[in-house]
Symmetry: C2
C-alpha cells in the first residue's frame, strides 16, 4: 500500500510503472479546435493518443460497454474483434462520438487515414471519450495525424495516460513484471465529475506471448471480476472499453500465472479509477461472503455501495449501520431472496455492528468507527491520491459458500457541485 505525500512523488512512482513492454510505441498530439455545435469564444483542446504495435498482432481482445446506446467507436470496435490482425488504437478525449450525424463514417475516415499514413494494412481501433452527442472535429483531427505519427516513441506510457484524461483527477498507470516481460495498463474515468466524460477506457499492453484464443477466453471473465465490480455512478457509459494487446515477444511458461498477474494489474487499476474522482473522499470496499452464488454476492455488494444513503453516510464518517441494513434489505426483498436476519453478520473496519438479528453498536463503538472512517478519508484535489486506505465493510450472509468484493465511492458535495454545475 503506497502513501504519496506530494504530486511529484506520485508522478515519480507512476513513471517507474510506465516502462513500455517491448514491441510498442506511443505518441500524443495536442491541438485546439472550434466545435460546430456551439459558439465558443475560446477554442477547445483535444489530445489524440496513439498506441501502436511495432508489428500488427493477432493476439488482442476487447470488452465493451453493455449500454444499449453505444458510441460509434464501440460499434466499430466490436467488428474489429473479427480482424485477423490489428495495428493499435487511436484515442481522443473531449468528444465521445455518440449519437451524432455520420459519427461512424468520421471514426472510420480518421483511423483509415492513420493506417494509410502509417502504411499499415491492418486497422486501428478508434476510441473516443468526452461530450456525448457532439461531432468529432474530423478535418482538424485528420490534419494532426501526420505530426502524431512523427512523434511515435518508446518513452514511458505516462504521457499517454495523461493525454487520455478528461476530468480525471490524476493519471492512472499500473504494471507488473512477468517472466522477463511485463504487463502495463493505463485507464481513464470513471464517473464523479462531468459524467458525460465518465467513460472508462482501459488499455493493456504486454509483451508476454499469449495466443489470441487464450487471451480472449480469459479476458472477459477477468474484466468481470475487476473493472465490472467497481461502481461510482452505477451507470455504464455509452463508450466503456477495455482493450488488451500482446506483442508476443516474450515466452510465457504458465497461462494461469499470467492470468494472476493480469488480475493484479486490473484490480489495482480499478481501485485507482474509484479513487480518481475529485468528488470522492472515501474508497469503499464491500466484501460479501457466505452467499449462495458469486452473482448474488456481487449484486448485493453493488446494491449496498450504490445506495445514496450508504454513500452519504460514509462521506459523513457516520457508521450508520441502520442504513446499510436497509439498503441490503431493499435489494434482497426486492429480488425475492429469502434470508434469515438472525444469520447475517455485518462488520466495519473489523468491528461487528450487526449480529444475531440485532444491531450491536453502542456509543463507544460508534465513535471508534467514525474515527476509522475519518482516517480512511482523503481529498485529492491536488492531483494525486494521498493514500490507498479504504473503508472495509464485511457482510456474512450465512447462506452458502460464495463471495465477492466490490469497490465504490462516497457521495459528496463536490460530486453534486461538479455534476450540477459543469455545463450551465
Amino acid at each position: 500500500m503506497d502513501v504519496f505525500e506530494t504530486k511529484d512523488k506520485y508522478l515519480k512512482v507512476l513513471k517507474e510503472r510506465s516502462t513500455l513492454p517491448e514491441g510498442f510505441k506511443t505518441a500524443v498530439q495536442a491541438f485546439e479546435f472550434f466545435p460546430v455545435e456551439r459558439e465558443v469564444i475560446e477554442p477547445m483542446k483535444m489530445n489524440m493518443t496513439l498506441i501502436e504495435l511495432e508489428k500488427p498482432t493477432e493476439a488482442f481482445a476487447g470488452v465493451f460497454t453493455r449500454n444499449a446506446f453505444p458510441g460509434y467507436p464501440v460499434e466499430i470496435g466490436r467488428h474489429l474483434l473479427n480482424e485477423e490482425k490489428v495495428s493499435g488504437v487511436l484515442i481522443n478525449n473531449r468528444i465521445s462520438n455518440v449519437r451524432c450525424q455520420n459519427g461512424r463514417e468520421t471514426a472510420l475516415n480518421i483511423t483509415e487515414k492513420l493506417a494509410e499514413i502509417r502504411q499499415r494494412k491492418h486497422p486501428y481501433f478508434p476510441s473516443s471519450t468526452g461530450i456525448i452527442g457532439w461531432k468529432l472535429p474530423e478535418q482538424v483531427m485528420l490534419k494532426h495525424l501526420n505530426p502524431l505519427s512523427d512523434k511515435l516513441n518508446d518513452d514511458p506510457i505516462l504521457s499517454a495516460a495523461e493525454a487520455i484524461m478528461t476530468t480525471d483527477a490524476f493519471p492512472k498507470v499500473r504494471s507488473i513484471e512477468f517472466e522477463g516481460g511485463r504487463i502495463c495498463a493505463i485507464a481513464k474515468g470513471a464517473g464523479m465529475i462531468e459524467p458525460d466524460m465518465a467513460t472508462m477506457l482501459v488499455f493493456i499492453l504486454t509483451d508476454i506471448d499469449i495466443k489470441r484464443d487464450e487471451l480472449r477466453a480469459l479476458f472477459s471473465p477477468l474484466i468481470n471480476r475487476t473493472f465490472n465490480r467497481i461502481s461510482i455512478d452505477s451507470d455504464q457509459s455509452t463508450s466503456d472499453t477495455a482493450l488488451i494487446f500482446s506483442s508476443g515477444l516474450k515466452p510465457c511458461s504458465s497461462l494461469s500465472a499470467f492470468e494472476d498477474a493480469l488480475q493484479t494489474v486490473c484490480l489495482s487499476l480499478s481501485e485507482d479509477i474509484v479513487r480518481n474522482g475529485e468528488g470522492t473522499s472515501h474508497l469503499i470496499r464491500v466484501t460479501v461472503s457466505e452467499a449462495d452464488t458469486v452473482d448474488e454476492a456481487t449484486a448485493l455488494g453493488k446494491a449496498l455501495i450504490n445506495s445514496p444513503l450508504t454513500k452519504t453516510a460514509i462521506f459523513g464518517n457516520d457508521p450508520n449501520v441502520g442504513r446499510f441494513l436497509q439498503a441490503m434489505g431493499d435489494y434482497l426483498g426486492g429480488n425475492g431472496v429469502s434470508i434469515d436476519p438472525e444469520k447475517i453478520e455485518i462488520s466495519i473496519g473489523g468491528h461487528i455492528v450487526y449480529h444475531g438479528g440485532v444491531f450491536t453498536l453502542d456509543g463507544e463503538k460508534e465513535k471508534k468507527l467514525s474515527n476509522y472512517m475519518k482516517d480512511c478519508s482523503f481529498v485529492n484535489s491536488e492531483g494525486f491520491p494521498p493514500h490507498e486506505q479504504s473503508v472495509d465493510m464485511n457482510i456474512k450472509l450465512g447462506r452458502g459458500s460464495c463471495g465477492s468484493q466490490v469497490l465504490g465511492s462516497d457521495l459528496t458535495y463536490d460530486y453534486v457541485r461538479e455534476n450540477a454545475d459543469y455545463r450551465t
Copy 2:
C-alpha cells in the same frame, strides 16, 4: 394545480382537505423521553398518534415494505391482516422499532394495553418510524396511552398529519368527496433527509362502504400504480406501510368510481411525498410510452430518475440529454432489452431533444430548456411547497403500446449535507 404563497395559505388549504370521514376519531399525545441507547442531555420528543374507528371494521387492507429486514410493526401488521376486525392504528415517530431486542413484544404490549384502555376486543395496528435499531421507550409510551385516549376527537386530521412527521418539510393531506362521503389520506416520508426516518407511512380513511374483499383486491395494485412509482433514494425502507380503513357508513354505487377517486388521492399524495424533502428542488415526472409492458416502462422510468447523473443535471437546470440517454441505455443494455436507437424519441417540457437516432439539441433549445427547469424549481425550507410544477420528460420507446409514469426528485447539496451530517 395549486400555488401557495405562504405557509399559512398552505395550512389553510390542508385544513380544508382534513375533514374526517364519518366514523373516525383521532388523537395526538406529545411527550419527552430519554433513550436507553445513548446518553443525551436534552430529552428527545415523541408523538403518539391514534386513528380509531368508532366501531371496529372488517373493511381494511394493508400493503407493507418488501424490504427483507422489516420492522416489528410491519411483521405484526402482516399478521393482523388476518383478523376479523380491527379498531385502528397507533403511530409513533422518532424510533422505528427495527432489529432491536424484544421489539416485537414491546409493540404488542403497547397496542394491547391501548385496546384494554379503549375496551376494544379488536386490535390496533402498531406503526413506528424513526431511528433504526433503537428501542421504543415502552414504559413512557404505556404511561401516555391514557391521556392519548382521553384526547380522541373528530377535529380535522391535519394535527395527526403533523404529528406523524419526522423530518418531513411539511404535513401532507389529500382528500376527495365521493357520493356523499369522502376519502381522506395522510402521509409521512420519504427519503431525502435523515433517511433512517424516511419510512413512508400512508393512512387512508373513508366512510364509503367497500367490502373487505373488494378493498383488498384493488388496494395492492393501486399502491403499485401510485406510491410504488415514486423514487427518492431508490430504497424501500424497513417500515414502509400503507393502510386503508372503511367505516362503511356511506353506500357506494360504483366500485370502479371509488377506485378512480382513491387513485386520485394516492397520486397527489405521492407527489407531495416527493416534493416534501428539504433537499428536493425539482419534482421530475417521467412518462414512458410505447413500451412492450407496463413493467418495462416503469423500470426504465425508475432507472432514469434514480440515476445520480440525471438527478444532479436537473438540480443544475441542465437539459443534459446525453446523460439521460446514457442512464436509459445502461438499464436497457444491462437488462438485455434490445432496442432500436432510431425509434426512440425523448422530449423535455414539450421540446424534442432526441429523435431519429441522434440528438436534436442546439444552443437555443438548450437555453429554453434550462429556463424551463429553473421555472420548475423550488425550495421549501419554509415548510410549504410553493407550487406544484414538475420537470416533465417523455420517452417514446417505439416498441409497443404500454406506458407508465414515475416521479422522482433531484440530487442537491442539501441532500448530501442533511444525509452526511445528521448524526456525527
